[in-house]
């Protein structure tokens, strides 16, 4: 069943002078019906017949060397096809971080290694004809370990006597300050102005320390992939991934085979939130299938997803803010420490964003600095998670700005309005490692933060509720706020592309490498395509994420798809439109500048002469030519979406429990391509943000074993934990965006923790600076306050 352009909320709006017909409409997701009806479209549903079951033997030690490994008993077991250890695989270091080449992540991972660096690290790979035999085989592999003292406290990792990676075996293609022998994966030092000098001169200086915890993406479909050799002897991977093109490159490097011998297909996937921006299971299925020639598949257990996944980097921040007594912020100094865990995937870039994105909320400062280190530990390696460092950095800076407001007795709203970035202003230009930044100054061309704050203030009822309301003897409510931002793609790095074919019935096939992980990007890109062509939505048939068929795209990360790939789609659509007019003119026997395409007919201007697109399409196809338009887009800037978030919480003074009563969010994401899908992104992100603020926490025991390795122990919000969520969008237009759009996927998670923290403070007069703000911590603070 096909839904032809759905029309509720279809008020045509004029944005940036352009009349939108398909963009800015809540068109239902193109794959929605099939997904809800349970059609077999996920990796596990389309595994090749007789695929070998692949299982991974995982390390029980946080840090050890494999002294001996003996798989002979396992291999004797009927049904066991093969067992591979580090002795059987190529010794080429690589990174699994889904980033453009050359990656600013360490090449510190091997398919299998003699050393294991976290509990859950891979020791051996088993393939068997069924689940039971594979499980049995795992138990029969005999491993002797030389166990080392693990590094389990990231604040003690630098210079620890246990060195996690040997410097002569690993490298980084980009100089990010790797000092493996000191357990330092990366260093950041960016500055504008003389921070120390300005701070010395400030009337008011506050210094605060904040901690953010590791949290887990918790997508409901675990990591999984299947592999087979196709009829031409090429390796095909069916992969639940956000980064099919990067996976192809990683596999080519790890196995030292040409990338053109590999095809990666992303079917529908059950969420990712950044977890699947790091490759994971693909190496195992690729290895088994390459070695045996037989199809294989792997499906991670929940325990494996947690212990061998890629949680959010835990960080520590020391924030120093200098201001005058009126609240004008003159300098911000942010010093950080980040825990990358056992491998350096996304180590540098996540950390860099923690500073870049947070400090740039306050561009009027005379000086700003962000410096710090990312260290290796024997924790599960960290990775990408919605917000990608900005979440952590904004938590620290926004919490400190709230504290400064209290210190100066200024409203948190007034202090933002006095200091925050505004439309038309220049972003902070940072010098990197003391080297002068000569890049052109970046001007923020769209920023509706002012409106977001004013509207959010109304939605939450700020004037009536600030700062607190006593409900009864034990319960008190408070409100708090924060602002946040993200980017839209990575400037001068991210590239997306699109190809459009005209079909013989006058419809179009849109091919994109972009990766829809449930967000609806297939739908949004189809909307942009239809708008660019000037045709109705039902004329677009999108095919995405197959490295053999679709043009290159980095993948679903860095809030890039709508902005970067969207721009590529728009450019390709405009090209196709010109081709249609050219061919229409030729078939009508006139010049191209004398015709126009109205979405259905190519008409000769001022005359009653026209050819329908259908007629033209069929004529072209059967006797003339295939119309193909292709284009790509590299973003030269990364326009930030902005958000103001307002929390109203209720604190139970007896138990320390905090409930979010209301969370109001007003967002500036430029033109909203699909209002319903955008609202859902916001609501989903805010719920994840509430989880991070109040209870989500990856906990490790004294041996380095993850305690929260399943959904019983790792708590994500249920529908009873979230209160009332209110989302609105500001009117905004980004001139460089496709039809004025910026990104939405990540900004939504960034204001919850600081806004909730200040709401708790306003309610109960206590401040918990290490996340999550659990009842235990709240109660402890309440008790020490009354003591």
């Amino acid at each position: 069943m096909l839904w032809v352009c759905w029309t509720a909320n279809c008020n045509k709006e004029i944005l940036g002078g352009e009349m939108m017909k398909v963009v800015n409409q809540s068109i239902p997701k193109v794959d929605g019906l099939g997904l809800v009806m349970g059609k077999p479209t996920y990796t596990e549903d389309i595994i090749p017949r007789n695929a070998l079951v692949v299982k991974v033997l995982r390390s029980p030690h946080a840090f050890a060397r494999i002294k001996s490994i003996d798989a002979s008993e396992a291999l004797k077991l009927p049904g066991v096809e093969c067992v591979f250890t580090y002795k059987d695989v190529p010794k080429v270091p690589f990174t699994r971080a889904g980033q453009a080449y050359p990656e600013p992540s360490m090449y510190d991972k091997f398919i299998l290694d003699e050393y294991v660096r976290h509990i859950g690290d891979d020791v051996a790979i088993v393939a068997a004809v069924d689940e039971v035999s594979a499980e049995k085989a795992l138990k029969l592999i005999k491993v002797e370990y030389e166990v080392f003292e693990p590094v389990l406290d990231f604040e003690k990792a630098e210079g620890h006597k246990s060195v996690i990676h040997s410097g002569d075996k690993i490298e980084c293609k980009v100089d990010v300050g790797l000092e493996a022998d000191k357990n330092i994966a990366a260093k950041v030092d960016i500055a504008m102005g003389d921070v120390d000098k300005v701070l010395d001169d400030c009337e008011v200086v506050i210094r605060r320390r904040y901690y953010t915890q590791a949290t887990h993406q918790t997508m409901l479909e675990s990591f999984r992939s299947a592999a087979y050799i196709d009829e031409r002897g090429r390796l095909v991977i069916i992969d639940s991934t956000q980064i099919p093109f990067h996976v192809r490159r990683f596999l080519a490097r790890a196995f030292q085979i040409p990338a053109n011998k590999i095809r990666v297909i992303k079917p529908r996937i059950g969420g990712g939130f950044g977890a699947k921006q790091t490759a994971n299971s693909e190496f195992y299925t690729a290895l088994v299938t390459l070695k045996t020639g037989k199809p294989s598949r792997i499906i991670y257990s929940t325990e494996e997803v947690f212990e061998a996944g890629s949680p959010r980097h835990a960080m520590r921040f020391d924030v120093t803010i200098g201001a005058d007594r009126n609240g004008r912020i003159r300098a911000i100094d942010l010093e950080g420490l980040s825990d990358t865990g056992a491998y350096g995937e996304h180590a540098y870039s996540v950390f860099l964003q923690a500073g870049m994105k947070s400090l740039n909320l306050y561009n009027k400062v005379e000086a700003a600095r962000f410096k710090g280190k990312v260290v290796y530990t024997n924790h599960t390696p960290s990775g990408a998670f919605r917000g990608y460092g900005a979440t952590q950095g904004i938590y620290a800076v926004e919490s400190a700005v709230n504290e400064l407001a209290h210190e100066l007795n200024i409203s948190p709203i007034d202090i933002r309005k006095m200091n925050m970035i505004r439309q038309g202003e220049a972003a902070i230009k940072f010098n990197f490692n003391g080297i002068k930044n000569t890049a052109p100054t970046e001007i923020v061309e769209s920023c509706a933060l002012d409106y977001c704050i004013d509207r959010g203030k109304e939605l939450i009822g700020w004037d009536e509720k600030y700062p607190r309301k006593v409900i009864d003897k034990n319960r008190v409510r408070g409100i708090g706020m924060a602002i946040g931002r993200q980017g839209s793609g990575i400037a001068n790095v991210d590239m997306g592309s699109a190809t459009i074919n005209l079909c013989d019935d006058g419809s179009f096939t849109l091919l994109v490498g972009a990766t829809d992980l449930g967000t609806g990007s297939d739908t949004i890109l189809s909307q942009i395509c239809a708008e660019g062509l000037g045709v109705s939505f039902d004329k677009i048939n999108i095919i995405s994420s197959d490295t053999d068929i679709t043009p290159f795209d980095g993948g679903a990360y860095a809030s890039s798809t709508t902005y970067v790939t969207g721009n590529a789609v728009k450019k390709a659509a405009e090209k196709m439109r010109r081709l249609i007019e050219e061919e229409g003119a030729r078939n009508l026997g006139t010049d191209v500048d004398k015709v126009e395409f109205d979405g259905k007919f190519i008409k000769v201007k001022g005359y009653d002469k026209a050819i329908s697109l259908e007629e033209l399409a069929i004529k072209l196809m059967y006797s003339q030519k295939q119309l193909v338009a292709s284009d790509s887009y590299v973003c030269h800037k990364s326009p930030p979406p902005y958000m103001a978030g307002f929390a109203e919480v209720e604190v139970d003074l007896e138990t320390g429990k905090v409930d979010v009563i209301n969370f109001a969010a007003v967002l500036d994401v430029g033109t909203v391509i699909n209002p319903n899908l955008a609202r859902t992104q916001a609501e989903g992100g805010i719920v994840q943000g509430i989880g991070m603020a109040l209870f989500e926490d990856v906990k490790i025991d004294s041996r380095g074993k993850m305690i929260t390795n399943n959904l019983m122990n790792y708590k994500i919000p249920t529908r009873k934990d979230i209160g009332n969520i209110i989302v609105e969008f500001a009117e905004s237009y980004e001139p460089t965006g496709p039809f004025g759009a910026k990104s939405i996927g990540e900004v939504v998670v960034n204001t919850c923790s600081p806004a909730i923290q200040d709401a708790i403070y306003n309610a109960a007069g206590i401040r918990v600076r290490d996340l999550p703000m659990t009842p235990e911590k709240i109660l402890r603070e309440l008790k020490s306050k009354t003591r």
Binding site: S26, G32, L33, G38, M219, L220, R679, E683
Partner: protein, 149 residues
């Protein structure tokens, strides 16, 4: 072992191991809407109906199914289509992985309580985890389906 199980109004002879859960057996027999989301009965992704009531198929032994009526999304196409349309109208279908479990839970709620309050809906659906949608639009869709205010 063998058992005759009524799946979507059709008696079928199933062959399985005594330790197997209905989730894995149903998938093996081609009911691919039934999916695993966790290993601890925490997420409700695998929800099916047993005699009209929602059950976690990941922890329901296949051997128990004999003599019961099992329903999956494949057996309630018309209702699932209605629910799908409502979820899509709210834009909360998202990754879709948890949707079949959601659909079965909603049909289960309708069987048990045709006129629930918001609080009763939230209680009934508390175990249905969704990491994409933020739940807000799902509540709207549930209420529209049940025709409650």
């Amino acid at each position: 072992m063998k058992a005759i199980v009524n799946i979507n109004n059709q008696d079928r002879e199933l062959i399985f191991e005594p330790h197997e859960y209905l989730l894995d057996v149903l998938r093996r027999y081609g009911f691919l809407s039934v999916r695993r989301g966790c290993d601890t009965t925490s997420c409700s992704v695998c929800t099916i109906l047993v005699d009209g009531k929602p059950v976690h198929s990941c922890s329901y032994l296949a051997a128990r199914a004999e003599g019961h009526k099992i329903t999956t999304v494949e057996g309630v196409e018309e209702e699932a289509r209605k629910i799908a349309k409502l979820l899509m109208d709210e834009g909360v279908d998202q990754c879709g992985y948890c949707s079949p479990g959601f659909v079965m839970t909603l049909i289960g709620l309708k069987n048990e309580n045709e006129n629930p309050s918001d609080e009763e809906i939230l209680d009934y659906f508390m175990g249905n985890l969704c990491r994409c949608s933020g739940y807000v639009g799902q509540l709207t869709a549930i209420k529209k389906y049940l025709g409650v205010k």
